[in-house]
Amino acid sequence: MNQSTAPSLHDHTLEYRGVSFAYPGADAPALSSISFAVHAGERLGILGPNGGGKSTLLKLTLGLLDLQAGEVRVCGRSPREARREGLVGYVPQRVDAELAFPLSVRQVVTMPLVVNLAPWKRVPGEALRRADEALSMVGASELAERPIGALSGGQLQRVMIARAIAPRPKLLLLDEPTVGIDVAGQRRFAELLQSLRQRLGVTIVVVSHDIRTIAAGCDRVACLARTLHFHDSPSGLSPQVLGEVFRHDIAEVFGDVHVDGHAAATCHVDAGEHAHHHCCDHHGHEQGAAPGADPKETPHANA
């Protein structure tokens, strides 16, 4: 467990202290008393069900929502300052971009580098060089001149990662990066993140509801379901923990079941590059997560 309430340290790329957030008119807060710190160069996986507050956490980190309680620091700055300085790279869950736009891949990757450039200035050669370098790092150099609408799903994702790393951010945020990607693609993706971390020294935060994405190569894992639960490694995710985190998802599929966590499921998480998970109910059927774990029995620490 590594949550931090101590004063900000210089090697903390991202730090949350007592952050709560509620959307106007909502019955319950989206986030409640979130405190954690991510060290420079670390890779954190945040696992959580849909509606667990993952998007809210990302928006707060990007400074796109106003803080209501607590403090968020990105490289010692406010999220907005960090975003303005290009310290945060972001890879969206879905590419909502208008892919019919008549732009080349290189133009798209250059966009974050020039969006706030003075209007009278030409695009500097340095920006183009950085864009090409980012494309090279994700193995997409040969796509530079292609129209953005002419890419496959996997190519588009690599281009979106290149766009995120082109400004050389200190923190890279990835939102559900492996949705719709097959197992082989997920493995390549995990390798790509590892290589980016080695080459750029960038701190990586991956947010997902898919345990395979989180388990593959993350140093630490946090489970987010309105509150945050920390684990030192993906192997610390017990069936009981998963049962509690995904309780609402499970209830939607199986009804509101209350079964003892040990009897209900056996769950194995492999944190290696061939990460996968098997969760079987006591009848031997494969399921997405362990149902019905009693929260009171959950042995993890609450943030």
Partner: protein, 297 residues
């Protein structure tokens, strides 16, 4: 050729020239905006805003601010009234859409009809008062080149230059926002202002195009050149150049047809634009079938 006769005669040239100058600046401005309007699927909001202008024209008509012989102050006054209606319509649509139970689609439909109704009543009152001196329904709906005076042309040139300067100034933010509205703010692009800037520019260009192209056809100028260019190229700079070229060519063809056949200029210009769009689509389809899909210029 009636066109050559008209342009050779100093008196006739003096009557037509303000409309032609206005047409040229509108074609350039609208063609640039059209690329964004098509890519951001904003044609229907443009339609709503342009019909909202009908209400503004009704108010201007009641106040006597119609016709080609307006003074500069009257032309500015008329422009301001119509622009206020368009901006108010855009804001009401945005406000209604932000609330539960009303989609943007419904909001645009309601605002469009409400403003048309107001315009119809007010203009009917004004036209009865003016008798045969009034501009008439046809010119309000479909445009009339002779209804554009020098004061209108000067206002159109100044407004168009302003629109082009803002477009150039904001180009990087607008393009990033238009390409990826969801993610652009995460990269330091402003989250809301590009949409507001584009809506204000749209309102300004629609009001500028109104007299020449008419209420019904003004938005076509904000859609067809962009759609034509996007059917022909996948490179942004080239798309903008083709869009401006298509708009100017349609203007020339439309105005000549209008003078030769004595048809409404707005309808002729938009008709020419529609034909060019059809040709562009056919050319795009032919190119794809010859060179394979995904091999645009």
């Amino acid at each position: 050729m009636r066109t050559l006769e008209y342009l050779g005669d100093p008196i006739m040239r003096g009557l037509f020239l303000p409309g032609i100058v206005t047409g040229v600046v509108i074609a350039i401005v609208c063609a640039c905006l059209a690329v964004l309007v098509v890519l951001k699927r904003m044609s229907f909001i443009g339609q709503g805003v342009s019909h909202a202008a009908f209400g503004g024209m009704g108010v201007a008509a009641v106040l006597g601010l119609t016709g080609a012989s307006l003074t500069a102050a009257q032309a500015v006054g008329q422009f301001s009234i119509i622009l206020s209606f368009c901006l108010a319509a855009a804001m009401i649509v945005a406000w209604m859409s932000a609330r539960r139970g009303t989609s943007a689609d419904t909001a645009i439909g309601i605002v469009l009809v409400a403003s048309m109704t107001l315009g119809a009543i007010l203009m009917s009152v004004a036209f009865k008062r003016q008798g045969s001196q009034g501009p008439g329904w046809e010119s309000v709906l479909f445009g009339a080149i002779l209804s554009v005076g020098w004061a209108d042309a000067i206002v159109a040139v100044i407004v168009s230059l302003a629109i082009l300067v803002v477009l150039w100034w904001e180009r990087r933010k607008l393009i990033f926002w238009a390409f990826d509205e969801t993610s652009a703010p995460a990269f330091g692009a402003p989250p809301r202002s590009p949409r507001i800037v584009l809506m204000v520019l749209l309102c300004l260009s629609i009001v500028t195009a109104m007299k020449l192209a008419g209420v019904v056809l003004a938005t076509a100028v904000l859609v067809l050149p962009g759609a034509t260019a996007l059917a022909l190229s996948k490179k942004l700079a080239r798309v903008i150049v083709i869009s401006v070229g298509a708009a100017l060519l349609s203007l020339v063809l439309g105005l000549v047809a209008s003078m030769e056949l004595d048809w409404p200029p707005g309808a002729c210009i938009v008709g020419a634009m529609t034909l060019l769009y059809a040709f562009a689509r056919l050319a795009g389809m032919a190119r794809d079938s010859v060179g394979g899909a995904g091999a645009p210029a």
